[in-house]
Amino acid sequence: MKKILALLGLIVLVLYSCGEDNDDNQEPQVYTTFEFTHNWDGTLITSINFNAIQYINENGDLLSIERLRYVVSDIIFSNEERTIELDIYNLIDVTNNDMSFTPQEPVPTGTYNVSFTFGLDNEDNSENLIDLNSESFNVPDNLGGGYHYMQLDGKFINSSMEEQGYNYHAIRAVENLGPNATFPQDTFFSVDLGNIVINDNVEVEVEMNIAEWFKTPNLWDLNELNQMLMPNTSAQILMYQNGQNVFSLGNVN
């Protein structure tokens, strides 16, 4: 019995020693906060600037913004040593000034290439995400289901010089609407923020230039494409293409 107790004591001692060694070698873990800011070709936009028809897109359409919210997901930190993928999603709601989030999972200090997904990849988009349900952010089943990637709503001055609503709603592009809908191509996309040095808790600013949604590579004519764009496959693909130049890295503090 004494031998067994002595052996157990030794095992505990060894395990305890190993644990201490691991702690000594552990790299500091820090938290990252992502702060999304918005501008129109460099002019800052917050919800205070909403509702007034004051922006001119590349096509020359005068427009306002009344509602802007979108989903970002799957943040990836990668360098030569490791790749950390945070399987998370967050609704950025500019209308209600909810524009930052701090993932619960810390990352070891280091320099990383940081990227995220605009919208939801197809796996995430097929899940039942109750906080997005609670925001009524769903896409109808007859349009393929899942969730909006973005809702950008406002008004513009149309060719008859009258105010008209627009709904620039980005979703997963869909064809053959109905129960057997098909998907011609993915319309979520990855945003590469480049290399970021993360040596302490850090706040990463991500800038969205809203004007880019209407500019490059597809000149967006709101007189042609304004509402009922969710079932419009080609419009969804145009949004996807224009979205590639929308985000950029801002300040890192």
Binding site: Q104, N128, S134, P140, D141, N142, Q164, G165, Q227, P231
Partner: protein
């Protein structure tokens, strides 16, 4: 968002702990019994948890007291009306008047809102105009409003305090026989949070316990199509059993406003003419419709969105084909849409004995 949900859980949990601790440390003989909301499966499966204030957890005694207060004319100045006078169970806790009459026979300017599923109003703005920033706050105003119960809280509290039953009921619910306005509205709010509606034909359809007719299914399709009804952007979808976004919109009722709605509350002209999206549950019990009760029937409501929209600077950009008056549904589409909307009727809600006087 996930963080907010977690925070609410924690706050609620500690609220319960504090209540229990206070009860036991005071060594009182009666400890309010916690009675959390019974969350329907169709809610817990699809939307985040309800909001329960940390300083007003649901208790058996608090709910019972709130129910009695809700139906008691003692809250009105002349003892003729209660909350239930304008929020009647058989009308899904609204009434059937365009605008309700107060104790002096004076009609207000707003339609009485139906009451259910209010604990899931995540932004916690209540009333058509969002003026009340919590359920507890909401319950304060009608008591003193001259065109509603036209009472005075000091008088109400004095009457309750002098009542043969209420001091004991408050003691049971809140561990104090001293009645206050705040405790009164807390109790009413606890009762109101129990008013949960989640057992309609459509709820049962989603749980494979009911079958929809082809017309009802077509109505759902119209509801969910952006190029048809496009109702879902403001009124939710099968994955959001609330059937409202609880947000505020100008839905094209008027080109000029006699009631500014949210705009009168925020002072922001861009909010003029915006009112809360009501839930589409229990429409069969809750006519007339809109903030001023201007539409007597569901047909009138559907016609409004189909060809009756009025343009104005604050009309919501989600309103489609405004220059044509609306989404231009055919008669058959309107009929099918109406049939679908009526599948959101919950007979068990208005018959629930827990909700009757």
């Amino acid at each position: 968002m996930l963080t907010n949900k977690g925070t609410r859980h924690i706050i609620f949990f500690f609220g319960l702990l504090i209540l229990n601790y206070n009860c036991s440390s005071d060594d009182r003989t009666h400890i309010p019994k916690l009675q959390p909301l019974e969350i329907p499966e169709i809610f817990s499966d699809n939307i985040i948890d309800p909001i329960i204030p940390s300083d007003n957890p649901q208790t058996k005694e608090g709910i019972a007291l709130g129910k009695r207060l809700f139906f008691d004319n003692i809250l009105s100045a002349n003892g003729t009306k209660s909350c239930a006078s304008c929020h009647s169970p058989q009308n899904a806790f609204t009434d059937n008047a365009p605008t309700s009459l107060g104790i002096d026979g004076i009609a207000g300017t707003r339609n009485s809102m139906p009451l259910f599923n209010m604990a899931w109003n995540y932004n916690e703005r209540f009333n058509w105009d969002g003026k009340a920033l919590s359920l507890e706050t909401q319950a304060i105003e009608p008591v003193e409003n001259p065109i509603e119960l036209h009472s005075d809280w000091d008088n109400v509290v004095a009457r309750l305090q002098a009542h043969p039953d209420y001091p004991e009921l408050f003691d049971l619910a809140f561990n104090t026989p001293t009645i206050t306005k705040e405790l009164t509205t807390k109790a009413i709010s606890q009762f109101e949070r129990t008013l949960i509606s989640a057992n309609s034909k459509f709820d049962n359809y989603l749980q494979n316990q009911a079958v929809l007719s082809p017309q009802e299914l077509n109505g759902l399709d119209i509801f969910m199509r952006e190029d048809k009804g496009d109702c879902f952007h403001c009124h939710g979808n099968p994955n959001n059993p609330l059937w409202t976004d609880n947000d505020f919109h100008n839905n094209g009722l008027d080109s000029q406003f006699t009631d500014l709605g949210l705009g009168a509350v925020t002072g922001d002209p861009s909010d003029n003419g915006k009112f809360k999206s009501p839930s589409l549950r229990n429409l069969a019990y809750s006519p007339p419709y809109m903030h001023d009760g201007r539409f007597s029937t569901l047909d009138e409501v559907i016609n409004h969105y189909s060809e009756g929209l009025q343009n104005s600077p604050t009309i919501d950009p989600l309103m489609k084909k405004v220059d044509e008056g609306g989404v231009q549904l055919t008669d058959q589409e309107k009929a099918d849409l109406k049939l679908f909307l009526l599948t959101l009727t919950d007979p068990s809600f208005i018959a629930n004995p827990d909700f009757q006087n």
